[in-house]
Structures are given as structure tokens and as C-alpha cells.
């Protein structure tokens, strides 16, 4: 089915949303036609999610009107949106971890027998049919915390379709998927639009917009810049519209000689929370002066691998040596002191004490050392001075070391961690998802520091789901699958297809070729 330009399924007019004094959406107009795939593009914090949350009834607009299929609707809460055929897949999944797939899908729209008793059997059947119809494979009876992120995403889409959604909002749906999964999703979107569904997709990836979207609306700092026909515009121009200047996505990286092995992991086995071997005989060597990228789909043991080598999770068997010294199963403190520092993947859970000030967070690993404390007494002055220095060097905003970290933006939170870890000048820096969810400026900044670390003859272990990041930064790339490194290649020789093939568990490089 092609786009029906006579039917405006969505018309948002003059939408303004203020959070206190801050204007997140500034007089935005958005029109979407039936059968269209419409992309929303903008930097971090541009206001994309806010606009869609308004459309879905999660936020009340400060002013402005919304028309659905030509009728003015006051979308006061998600129920109204659902009734009007709007479904939304949120940037952070809205799934109840302890529930099964079926339970998550039917929640709020339950099929019941008498007296409100759930009819799970019928629901399961319906969902199986639905999943067949749209080619969205899920395991209906699995619990959410047991399934892959890709499947979780399909559950989210099914949730919307199950509610009879004709308009589907997808907020950054590809951020956590493998290239293959992304391809699959693109296909699904096309097939949905063929079946008459209207889709709004938010993404930072220009490639994807080119691939599926018909039209694209660009938002910058809460204001709508323009809506353009995707076929008529080049990626570079889209990027320029988005940030308001020409951007280059290349990372400057000079050649460095790779040095001795500094970190050696031998046949490592680490269990996950369910007591299964998440890391299952993993071996690798990290050299001075290199960035070793670890590519892989979420859930293949990356987290357990990092926690295993940093002492946060017991190592069942295998050996980790740093500079020739066995550091297997030492305490986190001992491991930090032997020279490994980490940028953790979950910055809010692991990386920061949100209720602490910036200054307090800066000394998380060193609070007991001179000059931050003497004989168990904190030395507030030197802590402050240290924090002020780092805030300045890493351009952390606001420039206030007494600010609570929880009140900082995501990018600045990440900079606090980076500043802290790099200031330790570790031999090995483990960077897990260092730029997840950050805008272009912040990403550039963090990449610069990772490379600087490598240039200084230290080693960086980079773990990321973002293939572009891995390929741009790494000197060598290891692919992790099912808790093992299945192959390692030179970054220059790596291409997206091969990596994607390996990440999906396809086999070794040779087989990929």
C-alpha cells in the first residue's frame, strides 16, 4: 500500500511543552499521512521523546492541539491514545521483567473468562496468530528477563498491535539490536506499512532513515526545523540540519605500535544470576597501545565478563593476569589498585552514587588515599580542588563540584565517570557502552579520550553494541558469542556484514567468507 496523502492520520499543531522554565517542545507542527513511515531526527535532548510522549498521552502539552484522523482529540492519558489506535514502543522498554511475554502483551487488555479470570490459553493463541501475521517471532510463555533484547522489542511491537494500533511510534528501536536484527526490523516496518499501518520512528542513525522512512522531520533544541522527503536528501544534509553545522563522523586515529600483552584472560568461566555459565571458556589477550573492541549482541556474557575480571562477580575457573600478575578473584579494590579501571555499562546503577555530589563521586575509588583523606579523615579541600580541576578539564556542566550528580544530564554524568577513571591513569581501561544514549558532541569527546589513553601506551578494552563505534575506535575486534570469543580480527579488515554474521553466532570468519 502506498501513502494516502488524503488522510492525515496525525496532525500535531503548535505543540509546546515546558518543564518548569525549560521549553522542551517549542511550537512544533507534525503531520503524518496514512501508510507513511515518518522519521523524527534530532540530537540528544532535542525533544523527540517528549513530543511522542505527548502524542501518546503521557505528558500534557502546555499548549497546542492534536488531531487524529481529522478529529480533534484531547489525549489526556495513554488509554485515549490506545483507543485512537496509537501504539508506542518506548526508548526504555516498558516491560514487566517477572511477567511472561503473554502477560506483558495482554496487560491492560486482558481476555477473561468469568469474573475476571485470565484466559491465558486464548490469549496465547491470539498472540501466536498475531506474531505469525506480522512475522514477529516471540516465545509466548518465556519470562521477559529470560529473553533477548531483540525479542523484547518484538514483544513491545506486538503489545501495540495487539491493541489494534494503526499508528505505531518506535522510539530509538535499533539502539540495542544487531545488524541482522536491525535488518529484520526494517523489513517488519515495511511490511507493517504495506498492511496500512502508519509508523513514526525516532532514530539517530541516518542510514536507517534512508533505508525505510518516507519523510523525516528534524527537530533542534525543541524547535521543528523542517519536514523533508527522505528520497530527496543526502545523509550529510540531514546531519547538518540536525546539529546546525556540517559534521564529520570520522574519528582521528594515528597509528601506534602495539606493545606487550598487558591483560591476559585464559579460559574464563563466570556464572550469571541464574547460575548458568554466561562466560564460558573465554580467552583473549590485550596489548599495550591498542583498543580492543568486543562486538556482540547484548546478553552474550559481556556484562558477566567485565564483572568477572573486575572482581564484582566470582570467577568459577580460568585465570586473569595483569602485567603477569594473577588477579583472578581478587577483590574489586585490589583489582583497581593493580591497574584496571572501568567505565561501567550502567552508569546510574554502577558508576555513580546519584545522591552524592560531583566531588564525592570523583573520589569513589580513591577516597581513602592521600590527599583526599588523612588517617580516616576526609580532606574536603583537596577533594574539592581535585573535582574542580577535573570539571574544568573534562568540561563538565554545570561547573559546580557541589552539584548532586543525579541532577546532571546523562552526558555530563558519563563525563564524571570518564574523568574519574582516566584520572587514575590505569594500565587497562575497560569501557563498556561508553557512549550509549549520548549526543554527537559527547560521543566525540569520549572517543577522543579513549584514543588518547591508547596513544599513551595504555590499553583499552571497549565493549559496545554499537558496531560503528567498535569499528571506528578499535585496533582489533573480538566477537563475543555465547560467552566465548569466537574470533578476533584486525579492525581494518572488518566489515559490518561479517561482524554481524559472527555476532549472530554464524561461525568463524572463514565460514563467514
Amino acid at each position: 500500500m502506498s501513502i494516502d496523502f488524503n488522510t492525515k492520520v496525525i496532525e500535531m499543531k503548535n505543540i509546546t511543552k515546558k518543564f518548569g522554565d525549560f521549553v522542551a517542545n517549542d511550537n512544533i507542527d507534525l503531520t503524518v499521512h496514512k501508510g507513511e513511515i515518518h522519521a523524527l531526527l534530532g540530537e540528544n535532548g532535542a525533544g523527540k521523546t517528549t513530543l511522542m510522549n505527548i502524542l501518546y498521552g503521557l505528558y500534557k502539552p502546555t499548549s497546542g492541539e492534536i488531531y487524529i484522523n481529522g478529529k480533534k482529540i484531547d489525549i489526556t492519558n495513554p488509554s485515549v491514545a490506545i483507543e485512537n489506535g496509537i501504539g508506542m514502543v518506548h526508548q526504555h522498554f516498558m516491560l514487566v521483567e517477572t511477567f511472561t511475554v503473554v502477560e506483558n502483551i495482554i496487560l491492560g487488555m486482558e481476555i477473561t473468562k468469568n469474573m475476571g479470570v485470565l484466559d491465558i490459553e486464548r490469549a496465547t493463541k491470539e498472540i501466536e496468530e498475531l506474531s505469525k501475521k506480522y512475522g514477529l517471532h516471540v516465545d509466548p510463555n518465556a519470562k521477559i528477563h529470560d529473553i533477548s533484547v531483540g525479542m523484547q522489542q518484538r514483544v513491545e511491537i506486538l503489545k501495540a498491535l495487539y491493541r489494534g494500533a494503526d499508528i505505531l511510534i518506535l522510539d530509538e528501536p535499533t539502539a540495542v539490536l544487531t545488524p541482522q536484527e536491525i535488518d529484520e526490523l526494517m523489513e517488519i516496518m515495511k511490511s507493517l506499512s504495506d498492511q496500512g499501518k502508519t509508523i513514526i520512528i525516532i532514530t539517530h542513525k541516518l542510514k536507517e532513515i534512508k533505508q525505510v522512512a518516507d519523510y523525516c522531520t528534524v527537530i533542534r533544541r525543541g524547535k521543528k526545523i523542517d519536514t523533508v522527503k527522505v528520497a530527496d536528501i543526502a545523509e550529510e544534509d540531514l546531519a547538518a540540519m540536525m546539529v546546525g553545522r556540517q559534521v564529520s563522523f570520522k574519528v582521528d586515529k594515528k597509528e601506534v605500535d602495539i606493545g606487550d600483552v598487558i591483560l591476559k584472560v585464559d579460559n574464563l568461566v563466570v556464572k550469571d544470576n541464574r547460575n548458568l555459565n554466561a562466560v564460558n571458556g573465554l580467552s583473549l589477550k590485550l596489548h599495550r597501545g591498542e583498543i580492543l573492541g568486543i562486538a556482540g549482541v547484548d546478553g552474550n556474557g559481556q556484562s558477566e565478563f567485565i564483572e568477572g575480571i573486575t572482581g564484582l562477580r566470582p570467577v568459577e575457573s580460568g585465570v586473569v593476569t595483569l602485567n603477569g600478575k594473577d588477579i583472578t578473584n581478587l577483590t574489586p579494590k585490589e583489582i583497581i589498585e593493580s591497574g584496571i579501571n572501568t567505565i561501567p555499562e550502567d552508569r546510574q546503577r554502577r558508576g555513580l552514587v546519584l545522591e552524592f555530589t560531583v566531588a564525592e563521586n570523583m573520589i569513589l575509588e580513591n577516597y581513602y588515599k592521600e590527599p583526599f583523606s588523612t588517617k580516616g579523615r576526609l580532606n574536603h579541600e583537596s577533594i574539592s580542588n581535585f573535582a574542580i580541576e577535573l570539571i574544568d578539564k573534562f568540561d563538565i556542566r554545570p561547573q559546580d563540584h557541589n552539584h548532586k550528580v543525579g541532577e546532571l544530564s546523562g552526558g555530563n554524568q558519563q563525563k564524571v565517570i570518564l574523568a574519574r577513571e582516566i584520572s587514575n591513569n590505569p594500565d587497562v581501561l575497560i569501557a563498556a557502552q561508553p557512549t550509549r544514549g549520548l549526543d554527537v558532541g559527547a560521543v566525540e569527546f569520549i572517543h577522543k579520550y579513549l584514543i588518547e589513553q591508547r596513544d599513551n601506551g595504555k590499553a583499552v578494552l571497549l565493549i559496545s553494541f554499537e558496531l560503528d563505534e567498535i569499528m571506528n575506535l578499535s585496533d582489533r575486534i573480538a566477537v563475543i558469542f555465547n560467552g566465548k570469543i569466537i574470533d578476533i580480527m584486525d579492525a581494518k579488515e572488518a566489515d559490518e556484514r561479517t561482524l554481524g554474521y559472527l555476532m549472530a553466532g554464524g561461525g568463524t570468519i572463514d565460514e563467514a567468507k
Binding site: 574489586p332 554502577r350 558508576g351 546519584l354 569513589l364 575509588e365 583523606s373 580516616g376 576526609l378
Partner: protein, 370 residues
């Protein structure tokens, strides 16, 4: 922020008193008269002030105990049991151990604190080692402490003949202010001359209050200015981050519970050495720990804040005890008032709304005048 908190507490207290007034009215008492009795009952004489302070002293310490645990992410419902154990051990040391004055009370206080620390540390250990929720274990340990104390009081060497209580502690272990001097000839002569001091010193005024204030400052200092406090707070706010930063989370849970327990144990010890001088058979929980929870919550889990909060609590309870003989109003109204105060303190959002409504109203009036 800080200012707002004070205003909020003030408004909560006001609301509590208003509800209390309504309850009194319904039962046919004049609330103004009742509050008058309470105010006079607390401030009417130097000795009433002494009594209020004496009444508040253990609550400052159990309040800090609960607050400290909260600050480090633990809910210490067990202050009650730790208090009991602290009292018991302080009595044992106060009676059986023979030491010179000054040293004797110090040893007894430390012993009480240590006993409380070990008692609570056990709950901390179970949490750290087996992940057992400290709420359950401390509830269970409260009852075990109660029965254990009763058991100990009944041992032959410890029980006072013809009394369901232990022997009294030796005079050398007392922490009363000028205890001996008060009854000496010189003391008596002085006090006859100086009415205020006679009144003020009439109740068993003891160093417990000063100890409690010093401890509040110490705990505030530990939390704010030491690496130990830094670690404990980090664990309390986010134990995953603390663990990642190399802090031994399990050890800190045990240490935190031990410090909390030491504070409650100390509360029990000061009570014995300063006021009760003995451990009596306990028929029921006396409520020092449970009141401590309320004190801690009123103070916003701030150790320094526990001092005024406990004084408020002590004043309400001590002043409230005078309602009955004066005007015949039942004491329960005090518990209702305390409950309402705590209830409003739980709802800063509501109280803020009330404040901003009033400000708006005032603003509106100003505008209409223009």
C-alpha cells in the same frame, strides 16, 4: 532546602496539635486548657525541664541509631532489642565489676554499647552473609533480647531478693550529675540557698544528655567527614556503585549495623547508669526503639536533628502525662498527636501545597489591593 524542611516540620507539628485539639474537643476537653497544662508541665519549673531532658535522652540515642542505619540503607527496627541488651550488660558491669568512679561508668557504658553492637551486628552479619532481610531478624532479635534479659535477671547472683529486678549498680558506676554532693551536707546547704539549682538537680539529672549530644556530633562528623562515613553513605545510597568503587559492601553492612546497635546499646546503658540503676523484669516492650524510629523520621535521619526531635518527643510524652491528673484527659491523645505529626512529615508534597496555597492567597490579596 534546609529552611523549607524546618517550615515543614513546624507545620506538621501544628497540624498534629490541631488534630489533637479536635480529638480532645470531641471527648469534651478544652484543648487550650490541655495544651496549657502540657506547656506548664514542661516549662513550669526547672525540674520539669530536667525531667523532659531525662525523658528525651535515650530517644536521642535510639533515634540516631535508627537514623544512622537509614543513612546507610538499612532499616533498624531492632533498636528496642539493642537497648535492652545494652541496659542488661551495663547493669552487669555496674554491679559485678568493681572499679573506681569515672572509670567504672566509662567501662559500663562501653560494655553496653559493645553488647548492643554485637547484638545488631549479628543481624548485619546475617544480611551480609546470607542476604537475610534485616527487618525480620531485628524484629525477632527484639523478642529474644527481652526474654534473654528476663532470663539473666533471674539468675541467682544477679537477682535482688524480693524484687523482680536485678541488683542495683554500684554507686561508683553512676553517671548522675553531682549525685553524691547533692546528699552531702555541703550540697544540701548550697541547694537550700539556691532554689533554681535545687529544683533543677532534684530529678536524676545525668551526663547521658551530654553524652547523647556528643554522640550526635560524633556521628554527624563520622558521616560527613570521615572515610568510614563516606563508605557507609555510598553503600547506603547505592551499594552497586560502592561495590564497583572497591568498597567492601558486606563489611560495611556489618559495621553499620554494629554502630547502630552500639548507639542503642549506649542508650540502654545511659538509662541504667543515670536513671533506673537496675534491670527490671520486662513485661512488655518499653518502646524506646519504636519511639526512636519516629524520632529519626522527624529529624529527617539527621543525627543532629535527632536532638530537637527527641526533645519534642520527650516533651510531648512528659507533658502529656500531666493531662490526666490535671484535667482527666486520657494520655492516648498524645500518641495520636505524635502519629499525625509523623504522618504529615511523611507528606512534604502536601505540606508544600499548603504553604504555596497560603502564599498564593496572600499574593492574590496583595494584587487585589492594588
Amino acid at each position: 532546602m534546609k529552611r523549607n524542611r524546618f517550615i515543614m516540620i513546624g507545620i506538621s507539628i501544628l497540624l498534629g496539635l490541631i488534630v489533637g485539639a479536635i480529638v480532645l474537643l470531641i471527648a469534651g476537653f478544652n484543648p487550650l486548657e490541655a495544651y496549657g497544662v502540657m506547656i506548664k508541665g514542661v516549662f513550669g519549673s526547672p525540674k520539669y525541664i530536667s525531667w523532659t531532658i531525662i525523658r528525651s535522652t535515650p530517644l536521642i540515642l535510639t533515634g540516631i541509631s535508627v537514623a544512622f542505619a537509614f543513612r546507610t540503607g538499612l532499616f533498624n527496627i531492632g533498636a528496642e532489642g539493642q537497648f535492652i541488651i545494652g541496659s542488661l550488660v551495663a547493669t552487669l558491669v555496674g554491679y559485678f565489676v568493681k572499679l573506681p568512679p569515672i572509670i567504672h561508668p566509662i567501662v559500663a557504658l562501653l560494655a553496653g554499647a559493645l553488647a548492643g553492637a554485637l547484638w545488631a551486628g549479628f543481624a548485619g552479619l546475617l544480611k551480609a552473609k546470607f542476604g537475610i532481610n534485616e527487618v525480620i531478624t531485628t524484629i525477632m532479635l527484639n523478642w529474644i533480647a527481652l526474654y534473654f534479659s528476663n532470663f539473666m535477671v533471674f539468675t541467682k547472683a544477679f537477682k535482688r531478693p524480693n524484687k523482680d529486678a536485678s541488683h542495683r549498680i554500684l554507686e561508683s558506676a553512676s553517671i548522675n550529675v553531682l549525685g553524691k554532693w547533692k546528699t552531702s551536707e555541703a550540697g544540701k546547704a548550697f541547694l537550700v540557698e539556691h532554689k533554681f539549682w535545687k529544683e533543677f538537680l532534684n530529678p536524676p539529672v545525668n551526663y547521658g544528655f551530654i553524652i547523647a549530644i556528643l554522640v550526635a556530633m560524633l556521628i554527624w562528623y563520622i558521616l560527613k567527614h570521615t572515610t568510614l562515613g563516606y563508605q557507609l553513605r555510598a553503600v547506603g545510597f547505592n551499594k552497586d556503585a560502592a561495590e564497583y568503587g572497591g568498597i567492601d559492601v558486606k563489611k560495611n553492612i556489618v559495621v553499620s549495623m554494629m554502630i547502630a546497635g552500639a548507639l542503642s546499646g549506649l542508650a540502654g546503658a545511659t538509662q541504667v547508669l543515670g536513671v533506673s540503676k537496675e534491670t527490671a523484669i520486662l513485661a512488655i516492650m518499653e518502646g524506646y526503639g519504636f519511639d526512636g524510629i519516629a524520632v529519626s523520621l522527624i529529624s529527617g535521619n539527621n543525627p543532629i536533628g535527632c536532638i530537637p526531635a527527641a526533645l519534642l518527643f520527650g516533651a510531648l510524652k512528659y507533658g502529656g502525662s500531666k493531662l490526666q491528673p490535671a484535667i482527666g484527659a486520657p494520655f492516648e491523645v498524645i500518641n495520636i498527636i505524635i502519629g499525625i505529626i509523623v504522618f504529615f512529615i511523611a507528606m512534604p508534597k502536601l505540606v508544600e501545597m499548603i504553604i504555596s496555597y497560603r502564599e498564593k492567597k496572600r499574593g492574590g490579596e496583595v494584587e487585589s489591593i492594588k
